[in-house]
């Protein structure tokens, strides 16, 4: 009888292990985790593919919605007090402030088995990457062909006379601003520490507009108000049914194109560390990573998701192989002085 009981326990444990969840159902009864993340459709995606599973384990998620920079401001304001959230979705440009403020609680990577799906460069004890966007020059193939404009290979090609009034660049406040600015800086002999060549190039390009949100940009691309824009490849994917868009990844230092990265970090002072680890693991699960691509328009980081996407459709405009993604430039935000750059932008890029 005892042997049968042992066998039964073993079967239960084995079954639980095979689900890929490193824990048992119902283990988070009464646990509430506050997750700081984007609002809108992204929240719906997270709710459907991550939070539902967490709720099935008895847990509850409270969303603290906002741009990462706003949420970081809340964290700074709460310094020395109860933290406003347990887990934060941050972007690469937020990491230096989080590190400098000592807001990050190191992770126990053994509790996040799905990191095994990631390239080693995409995670460490402080943070785990969950998506990337691939930044370059999005252009309307038909408009370029009809007007005899050569396909751009670098940002300086946007000064073509026939593109006057037909280019949009990201506003300094947009998420895609730094990738474009750093890309243009390197092209002009500058770098993260010297963006003057980028600002000079922006003035030369004299864009028709500076986009501040992706929906704003996408409307301009679809309506033909803009033939080319400094933007990410997700715009090509989302607008495939409406416009024949392409993307080029200009040379940046010794790489092609720029990566913008989204991370999850655990906030120091959280009392729900186990739950946070579970949630981070769930963000890296295949269903969520596929949803990142198909529903949110970003590129996942999980190897199995990337593999499925490569096999499942024609996404030749994206860099989906690990070596291709490794060939894209990652901005060193420790060298970027964003407040100073905003001031420079406001002074020199007049609108």
């Amino acid at each position: 009888m005892k042997a049968l009981q042992r066998l039964a326990y073993a079967l239960v444990l084995g079954g639980a292990a095979m689900t890929g969840d490193p824990a048992f159902a119902g283990q988070f009864d009464g646990v509430t985790v506050r997750v700081a993340t984007f609002g809108g459709k992204w929240r719906d995606v997270v709710a459907e593919h991550v939070v539902k599973r967490f709720e099935a384990e008895g847990g509850k998620v409270e969303y603290v919605l906002g741009q990462p920079s706003t949420n970081v401001a809340k964290l700074i304001a709460a310094r020395g007090r109860e933290i406003p959230f347990d887990m934060l979705e941050a972007m690469d440009n937020n990491l230096p402030a989080l590190k400098a403020g000592n807001f990050i609680e190191p992770l126990t990577l053994a509790k996040i088995p799905n990191v095994g799906q990631l390239d080693k460069a995409n995670y460490d004890a402080d943070k785990v990457m969950i998506w990337v966007t691939q930044e370059g020059i999005v252009y309307n193939k038909k408009a370029f062909a009809d007007n005899g404009i050569p396909v751009p290979t670098k940002y300086a090609d946007l000064t073509h006379p026939k593109l006057k009034g037909k280019v949009s660049l990201p506003d300094i406040t947009a998420g895609g601003a730094m990738p474009a600015i750093v890309g243009m800086a390197y092209e002009g002999g500058g770098s993260e520490t010297n963006i003057d060549p980028a600002l000079d190039l922006v003035r030369k390009i004299a864009p028709a507009s500076f986009w501040s949100s992706s929906s704003n940009l996408q409307t301009m691309l679809v309506n033909g108000d803009v033939y080319a824009a400094g933007a990410q490849a997700g715009n090509v994917q989302r607008l495939r049914s409406k416009a024949d868009l392409g993307i080029v990844f200009p040379r940046v230092k010794d790489k092609n194109g720029v990566l913008k990265q989204g991370y999850l970090v655990q906030i120091k002072g959280t009392k729900q560390s186990d739950a946070v680890h579970w949630l981070i693991n769930a963000f890296l699960a295949k269903s969520m990573q596929m949803a990142v691509f198909h529903e949110a328009g970003q590129v996942p980081v999980s190897a199995e998701a990337l593999d499925d996407i490569r096999k499942g459709g024609t996404y030749d405009f994206l860099r989906l192989r690990p070596e291709e993604i490794a060939g894209m430039y990652r901005i060193d935000f420790t060298k970027v002085d964003e407040p100073a750059y905003v001031q420079k932008w406001n002074r020199r890029v007049s609108r």
């Binding site: 969303y63 919605l65 401001a73 304001a77 949100s213 992706s214 929906s215 989302r238």
Partner: protein, 280 residues
Amino acid sequence: MSERIPAYRLRRQILAGLILAVAYIIVLGPIVFVCIASFDYGARAYVIFPPERFTLESYWQIPQRYWDALWVSVRLAAVTMVAACAIGIPAAIGVVRGRFAGKRLILTMFRFPLQIPSVVSGVAFLQAYYAVGDWTGWHGVGSFAGLAIAHTFAATPYVVGTMVTALQRFDDSVEEAAVILGASTMGTLWQVTLPMLRPGIFAGALYAFMVSFAEVPMSVFLTGSTLLTFPVEVFNSMQFDFEPTILAISTLVTVVSLFVVWLVQRIVGLDMFVKVGAAD
């Protein structure tokens, strides 16, 4: 024999009509655009205009979170309106009617919230609420009361401004007549002064409501996980991606607003805004 309109007068009328038409297009154009575009629907990330088809699908698909946020905003704006009037009306009466040194300074101080960028106010309130929370145990961030206090801070100058303007145009002799005829101070206030100030009160209250309802920069910092205002919910959605349902809920809010304006016209008449003038 009919009188012919002189040519110069005709030219002036045409020019005035053109200017008015341009003004209407500039002011109403975006609203009409949103309303028309809301009658299209599809899984897309951009606005289509003119709509490719006519459907009410966007309206049926409005997520519950928008309705919840709208209800929060309506309640918050109503509370802010009452609080701002409760502070602003007596303050304006005191400043205009009072005889003391520093009246101009006090009036200027009431206008301070208008001079401070809302984002700065939002961060200041965030810090203040955390400090108050440490001291009293009351946590304002993410609470309805915390939002209401911040919105009242932003809205009160508008009430003070409209009331000061109304009071400066007030005919004191009517009050004096009431007192001479035997009315008490409070009786004069309730039966003479406040009814005559009604247009200013309504104007200030409406401005306070609108300021609170549309407030984003402060609310972004002060909303919490279970409390989101409608503009912040829409702002967060638009920052990430476009949803056609945003157009639909915005159209509904516009329609309700038009109804409120019609109601105001029926009750007090919109010309009170012209009489009273803008807040600043």
